[in-house]
């Protein structure tokens, strides 16, 4: 069936709720309204208000309640309306969700998913364009997943719901309705922690995720030379093996992310490339990212957001070096 990412995520949620009665959804406006992006549309009618829970407007409460649910045998999928509001959940996620397994030597675990729309490029209000995946990726015990296409979203979300550890699932808002593709009905699994080679190539490795993938694809369409594109899929635990092996072959690497540059995931990826492939490198690792500034309001967003031109320039710098 042809689906956009919103529909694919909805299909993943309904499939898992059908399969496993311990899966519950909770969040602001996820029930009657179907979520502000309609990701959970229709699920309250199918599964009832006990399992599709419209909560009070309280992000830390949502995360804390979800942790408690997970401790007592449920698999909650909690929605935070926008990533900019997710900073309120950090105490719960960092101090409890991430640590419970280690704290109790594996006796108590928190198999929950914290979903949220993420990223800029849609000319939204302030706090609606965040891409702070590195905040979560730095926390041992959390997994951070970003899908890039509808098919990927379905497969990665199902795996995240079934995963025994807490997963922060970041949905690129810009990609929600950008593209439709064939998504199988029924089960489709994409393993966490495994990168995907979107396109094979010999001259340069380009690493990205989420909404950056289609931009990268377009940016290299008429490139002189062949680019290998890797969709990281899981920011943490990172599949550095896939990246390093590719760079060993191509000798050049470009990391693309829409988050600000400093302390961003690109720095970690670059470090792993240097550790694993320094003798094969023919150019410094190039980073194409947002600058280290606050996401501008819509009128200024283009000055911030990564675009095809910036990616192209970065790739050309890496190839020319």
């Amino acid at each position: 069936m042809m689906m956009n990412m919103v529909q694919a995520i909805n299909a993943a949620l309904s499939g898992e709720m059908e399969r496993d009665p311990s899966v519950v959804l909770l969040g602001e406006d996820v029930g009657v309204d179907g979520g502000v992006f309609r990701v959970t549309d229709g699920l309250i009618d199918r599964f009832g208000e006990d399992r599709v829970i419209d909560t009070p407007l309280a992000e830390a409460g949502i995360a804390g309640v979800a942790i408690g649910m997970a401790l007592n045998g449920l698999r909650p999928v909690a929605e935070i309306q926008f990533m900019g509001f997710s900073y309120l959940v950090l105490n719960q996620m960092i101090n409890h969700a991430a640590r419970m397994r280690n704290r109790t030597r594996g006796k108590l675990t928190v198999p929950m998913v914290l979903r949220m729309p993420y990223g800029a490029g849609i000319k939204a209000l302030e706090h609606h364009s965040e891409s702070t995946e590195a905040l979560y990726a730095q926390i041992p015990g959390l997994k951070v997943v970003v899908p890039s296409t509808p098919l990927e979203a379905k497969g990665l979300l199902i795996s995240s719901i079934r995963d025994p550890d807490p997963v922060v699932f970041l949905e690129p808002t810009r990609s929600y309705r950008m593209l439709k593709e064939e998504v199988p009905e029924g089960e489709h699994l994409v393993p966490l922690g495994k990168a995907r080679t979107v396109q094979e190539g010999d001259d340069v490795t380009i690493v990205g995720w989420g909404a950056m993938i289609p931009l990268i694809q377009r940016a290299v369409a008429d490139l002189k030379g062949s680019a290998e594109i890797i969709d990281l899929r899981t920011i943490s635990p990172m599949d550095s093996h896939a990246v390093v092996e590719s760079v060993k072959r191509t000798g050049r690497a470009v990391v693309v992310h829409e988050a600000p540059r400093s302390f961003g995931p690109g720095a970690e990826i670059a470090a792993r490339i240097y550790e694993g492939a320094i003798l094969k490198l023919e150019a410094p690792v190039e980073r194409v990212t947002a600058p280290d500034i606050t996401v501008p309001l819509p009128k200024g967003e283009d000055r911030y957001y990564v675009n095809e031109k910036k990616i192209k320039e970065g790739v050309e710098r890496a190839l020319r070096f």
Partner: protein
């Protein structure tokens, strides 16, 4: 209903046994002699074990430790109202409650000695681990209760926290959720009058903490936290209400921390000896023992102290004999499956 009889907004406080050990039999909950003696034994064990923990800390054999002295009734009374299938969610000053619910003393010592194995409780013990970030366990207790509802269990979730926690957003969010979803929760605020050095009056302008429940749409009751009978009676009623699907209750246990916040603290900095002495007069153990003696239930306290003292020594020895975690122990529970890069970081320690 006790919650109807004692209105926190009027400052009414439930007390069954007074400071002299005199009981108001009209309010007395039904308790067998065995139950009474088991309660006393647990409170006394807590007092002795607490004292030992402080000594071990002073000798460098145990880490920073938050003493329970003075709060034994406030801890044990609520736990007594729980059934095996009920959950106990604690903060960090609830040694007596844990003892009652089946967390062995040696396990508790092990935790305070700094070993995660001290968070591993006997199979089937429904007790969450200690929570250090104040108040953050409150919404979790609500989630545990909600899950119980979904799974059609009849279990109740008892959550402890202190007066300081009531200023945290998590307290508000947790109680607000509980009210909205009518979860089977019993919230026990151990109001020991201090958050480290900060007095209760700096946490809230409310006359009582119990009355905050009214705003969340469920009953609250102010209870003399140094009276084990009152704490038990109030919690038993609240647990029954929760079990019947009638929603949560907030219990404010009005008590006093007779010792320091933790072994790193010195209470003389922020309160007078006279104030502490006044509360020593209200010591929950003295009061309970006076009652039991008057009933003829407690005869040979000296040999009980001796017996419990031996238990305490044995638990300390056992905890100290537990080996420190190995390299694999501190790595392997980060995720269910260890990612390859983490295995690399661990180096040769992985077997």
């Amino acid at each position: 209903m006790l919650t109807d009889e004692f209105d926190p907004q009027k400052g009414e406080m439930l007390r069954i046994v007074d400071e002299e050990g005199e009981a108001d039999m009209g309010l007395m909950p039904r308790m067998s002699k065995d139950l009474l003696l088991k309660a006393y034994r647990t409170m006394l064990l807590t007092r002795l074990a607490d004292d030992k923990a402080v000594k071990l800390q002073r000798q460098g054999r145990l880490g920073a430790y938050p003493p329970s002295k003075g709060q034994e009734a406030s801890q044990v009374g609520p736990a007594m109202a729980l059934k095996e299938e009920d959950w106990l969610v604690w903060a960090f000053r609830e040694m007596g409650a844990l003892l009652w619910k089946g967390v062995p003393l040696e396990t508790q010592y092990l935790y305070w000695m700094g070993n995660e194995l001290g968070n591993v409780y006997p199979e089937g013990t429904r007790v969450t681990p200690s929570v250090v970030p104040v108040g953050s366990q409150v919404p979790q207790a609500v989630g545990i209760a909600y899950a119980g509802l979904i799974r059609k269990e009849k279990s109740v979730v008892l959550a402890y926290f202190g007066d300081g926690a009531t200023s945290e957003g998590d307290f508000h969010e947790g109680l607000n959720f509980a009210g909205v979803f009518r979860t089977p929760n019993v919230f026990v605020c151990q109001n020991n009058q201090f958050a480290i050095s900060t007095r209760r009056s700096r946490q809230t302008a409310s006359a009582t903490i119990a009355q905050k429940a009214i705003a969340y749409g469920f009953p609250g009751i102010l209870v003399d936290g140094n009276d084990i009978m009152a704490m038990y009676a109030a919690t038993k009623e609240a647990a029954e209400r929760a079990r019947k699907g009638k929603g949560p209750t907030l219990i404010e246990s009005f008590t006093y921390r007779m010792s320091d916040h933790t072994t790193s603290d010195d209470w003389r900095k922020y309160r007078s000896k006279e104030e502490v002495a006044e509360w020593e007069r209200k010591d929950p153990l003295k009061r309970f023992s006076a009652y039991l003696v008057s009933k003829g239930f407690l005869k040979d306290e000296a040999s009980l102290i001796e017996e419990l003292g031996e238990l305490v020594e044995k638990a300390a020895v056992q905890a100290e004999a537990t080996p420190a975690p190995g390299l694999a122990d501190v790595f392997e529970h980060t995720y269910a499956e260890m990612p390859p890069y983490l295995r690399e970081q661990m180096g040769g320690g992985w077997k």
